[in-house]
Every structure is written in C-alpha cells, then in structure tokens.
C-alpha cells in the first residue's frame, strides 16, 4: 500500500493510533506514514477527525493508544520544552487563519520571531517583509486581521507559519470557502512553497479535486482507520466502491443518502401520534 514511503524517508509515522472523545471513538487503530519532502493530503468526510489528527501530530492532545513519531520523536512522550522545540519546526495553518486579532498583519507575522528569537528589529523587518512578499501581501502589512478577506487571512497565516523556517507545515482545510481565484492562488502557493523551501506539507481537506491536483500522496480516512492510501493516480484507479463514491462525490453508494430510519411509509401513515 505505502509504495512511496517504504523506501523513501518518512517524516511522520502514525502507528496503531487510538483516540476517543467522550464515548465517541474517533480513531481505532490508524496507521499511516507521511513522506518527507512531499505534499500529502489526508481526506475524509467531515467529522472523521481530520482536525483532531493534526492536533495529535502537533501534540496538543495525546492518543489513548498507539504512537505518533515526528522526525523520529514520539510526540506524546515529549516533555514540555522538547515539545515546544518540536513545534517551532512545525507550522500549522488553522482553518480560520487564527491570526491574533489585536495585532497588525506585520506584527502577526513577526510574532513567532519576536517570541522565539533575539533578532534585531531590522532583521525581523526584513524577514517579515520577505514572507509577506512571498504570499503577495506586503501591501497589507498595516491592516488588522478583521480587515482581511478569508483568503488573505489564510495567506498571512501561511507567511506566519513559514517565518521560522519550519521543516513541515500542516494545513487544515485550506480551500474551504475560497472563491476560485484565491483557491488558485492558494494551490499555487502551497506547491511553490513546498518545493522552494523543501518542506513537507500535510493538507487536510475534503475538496477532492483541488487537493488531488497538487498532492504527491493521498491518505483517505474514514471511521477511524485509513481506507486507502497512495498516489492520486493509484486512488483514481481504486476498485473500492467506497473510495469511488467519495472521490467522485456520488450521492448514493456504500454510504447511503438516507440516515438509518424507520420505514418511510410506516412513519407517514401509522405513527401520527409520536411525531
């Protein structure tokens, strides 16, 4: 299954991951390897726990069983300072951008530098402007997050995530709610950034076509386990009906359109009393 990763080097290794929230079991023995230096997309229906998976990789929550290794380090067993050191090497782009609302765009991008380095302000300025220029938003440096469109906020967040030169970057649903133009820009950006900076990118998404178009490797997650993984071409040729339904967005298939319910005619005619 993991043709690419068996031989190449793996950056994130997820082994037998179990996690639950309250009574709900979100992961039940998930195994996946995320290859270094490539763009990997994790897909799955909403509510399967894609965001949760990113938080597990970032060490914000701990698995109840199994392990996640990032660059050879077991995330859950790291102490606080080691975890923080690891996080400085991971960038994460939240769905909403998660920019600090009380700081300008410039200060948002400068924030990680000011927190974690003692660089002189002139150098900070250089680095920030360079990253802002890379995402095309140098002109927005004095705006506040509330004045940005959703797509712009995500690009600023990308500049911020890149400013410490991380080894990997995680994108949570980067394409949701974007108009076609900013969608195109984001796709282009993610690809260029990954190649130019030699990053490892992990994208979580259910925008199938867009994500497939820039990914080297795709992992499909459903019901707490990996359903299928491989290159986009391999997945398109998959014989699994479920995968075909998911990739092609068919309304009915192994996943029924109707949520389990009593017989329709019965409900209409026989049980007028309890509705």
């Amino acid at each position: 299954m993991n043709t690419i990763t068996e031989n190449g080097s793996t950056l994130v290794r997820i082994k037998d991951l179990h996690f639950q929230r309250g009574p709900k079991r979100i992961f039940r023995g998930l195994n996946a390897n995320i290859p270094r230096g490539q763009i990997t997309t994790i897909m799955g229906p909403s509510g399967t726990g894609k965001t949760t998976l990113l938080k597990l990789i970032g060490g914000q929550i701990k698995p109840s069983q199994g392990s996640i290794e990032v660059d050879g380090l077991n995330v859950a067993s790291l102490g606080r300072s080691d975890l923080f050191a690891l996080r400085k090497r991971m960038g994460m782009l939240f769905q909403s951008g998660a920019l600090l609302t009380d700081l300008t765009v410039f200060d948002n991008v400068a924030f990680p530098l000011r927190e974690h380095t003692k660089l002189p302000e002139s150098l900070v300025r250089h680095l920030v402007l360079m990253r802002l220029h890379a995402v095309g938003l140098r002109g927005a440096k004095n705006l506040f997050p509330a004045e940005l469109s959703g797509g712009m906020a995500r690009r600023v967040a990308l500049a911020r995530a890149l400013v410490l030169d991380p080894m990997m970057i995680m994108y949570d649903e980067p394409f949701t709610g974007q108009d076609p133009i900013s969608m195109g820009m984001l796709l282009e950006l993610i690809k260029t950034v990954n190649n130019a900076l030699q990053l490892t990118s992990i994208i979580v998404s259910h925008d199938i076509q867009e994500a497939m178009s820039i990914s080297d490797y795709v992992i499909i997650v459903s019901d707490g386990v990996v359903v299928e993984a491989g290159s986009p071409a391999q997945l398109k040729g998959s014989t699994s009906e479920w995968v075909q339904q998911f990739l092609n967005g068919l309304a009915d298939g192994p996943v029924p359109f109707q949520l389990a319910a009593p017989d329709y005619a019965d409900e209409l005619f026989n049980s007028a009393g309890d509705a």
Partner: protein, 257 residues
C-alpha cells in the same frame, strides 16, 4: 426516581469536575507568572483595557453612591442631632463595604464579561490553539497578564470609588444640606482608622479582584468554542463573579469586623 437521583448525582459530579479544572487552571496561571513578568508590556496593555476602561463607570457610580449615602445618612442622623457624624458614616460605609463591593460588581459586569468574551472568541477562532502550535504558552501570553492586571486594577478602582464617594457626600451633605464642612472632614478623620478600615477594605478589594478575574478568565478559556458557548460563558462570568463578590464580602466582613 432512580433517574432523578442519577441526574442529580451527575450534575454534582460535573460541578466538582469543573471546580477541579478551575483550580488546576489557577495553578497554571500562577506557574506562568515568571514568564509573564518578562512580558511587562502585555500587563500594561491589560491594565489599560481592564482598569482605565472601567474608570469612568466607577467614578460616576462612586459619586452617586456617595451622594445617596449623604442624603440617607443625613435624614437619619438629623433626628438624633448627630448630623456632624455624616462624614464618618459616609466614609466608613464606603471604605469598608460599598467601595470594594460595588467596584467588584461593576468590574465583573464591565471588565470581567469583556475578558470572558475576548478569551472565548480567541478560543473559538483557534487563536489559543494557534499560540500553542507556535510554541507560545497561552498562560504566559494571554491568561496571566489579565490576572495580574485585574489584581492591580480592582483595588485601585475601589480606592477611587471611595474617594469620589466621599466627595459626593461632601457635595450633598455640606454644600446642599448645610452640614458643617469642618465637622464633616474632622469626624471622618477621627473615625476612619488605617488598619481597621482602610486596610481591611483594601484586602477585600484585592480578594475580589483575584476572584472576579479568575472566574472571568477560566470561563473564557473553558467555554464551548462556538458563538452560543461564548455568550453563555459571558453570562456565567457575570452571575458567578457577582455572587462570589457578595458571598465573600459576608465572609470577610464576619472575619474582620
């Protein structure tokens, strides 16, 4: 019947679990203090947001409360021919009770609710998670500076409340009702003791500042990260911290006086 017992028990378990989390949260805020003091600018910013922004409402409220005290006090005291004691009455009431308590209540409504809403929104918009992922501790960066600011602001505001209240009392008692100005101030000076009255009032306001900020910050950080979650957390802050101020006031008064 068993169902009722079950729900009763479950509700209490939830309450105690939350209390436990609130205490752990407090502990984490205290542990973050050294890191917070290294970011002194943040404390100053929060002092402005909580203290200075609450100042206007405190001054206006203090003035009116002082004026009302003088009116009510005069009407009672004049019956005994003791209207010279008006200054003592106004000042003692303010310094011991109304200063800290009313300031605590107004602070909960103005600054506490704003703190909860702000932190709750930061949580709902993933800013708190974002900080953690940037290897920045939200306790050092977001929670503790607010705690320290509230801790400093409330006693200062309570002192100003009392001061303005005494002036309001002077306005009504002396200027309007004709109490002798010398009597007003000298009776006050001899009746109000530093340790027994001023210091105890100060202790009260420090305690209130601590509790109101603790509740406000915890409710914000612990809220369900949706719009409804933030709004109900804000309501809870005002209700719980007002009740806490009044309850603690009784407790402290019983111990002090």
């Amino acid at each position: 019947m068993t169902n009722w017992f079950q729900r009763f028990g479950a509700a209490w378990i939830t309450v105690f679990e939350r209390l436990g989390r609130a205490h752990l949260f407090m502990l984490q805020m205290l542990l973050a203090l050294p890191g917070t003091f290294r970011r002194f600018g943040l404390i100053v910013k929060q002092l402005f947001a909580t203290g200075v922004m609450t100042l206007a409402i405190i001054l206006v409220a203090g003035l009116f409360v002082g004026m009302v005290l003088a009116l009510q006090g005069y009407n009672t005291l004049v019956g005994f021919g003791a209207e010279e004691s008006l200054g003592a009455l106004v000042a003692l009431t303010l310094v011991r009770e109304l200063g800290p308590v009313v300031t605590g209540l107004l602070f909960a409504g103005r600054a506490g609710s704003a703190m909860t809403a702000e932190i709750g929104l930061m949580k709902a918009t993933e800013q708190l998670s974002g900080l953690e992922m940037m290897a920045v501790d939200p306790f050092q960066r977001v929670f503790s500076p607010r705690m320290i600011a509230g801790f400093i602001a409330l006693p200062a505001l309570a002192a100003m409340f009392s001061a303005v209240g005494v002036l309001g009392g002077h306005l009504v008692g002396v200027e309007l009702l004709g109490v002798d100005a010398g009597a007003y101030w000298s009776q006050m000076q001899s009746a109000v003791g530093f340790e027994h009255d001023v210091l105890n009032g100060l202790i009260k306001s420090v305690v209130f500042g601590f509790v109101v900020c603790w509740i406000a910050i915890f409710e914000g950080a612990d809220c369900i990260p949706t719009s409804e979650g933030v709004s109900s957390a804000t309501t809870r802050t005002v209700v719980y911290s007002s009740l806490a101020v009044l309850g603690l006031d009784f407790l402290l008064t019983a111990l002090m006086f």
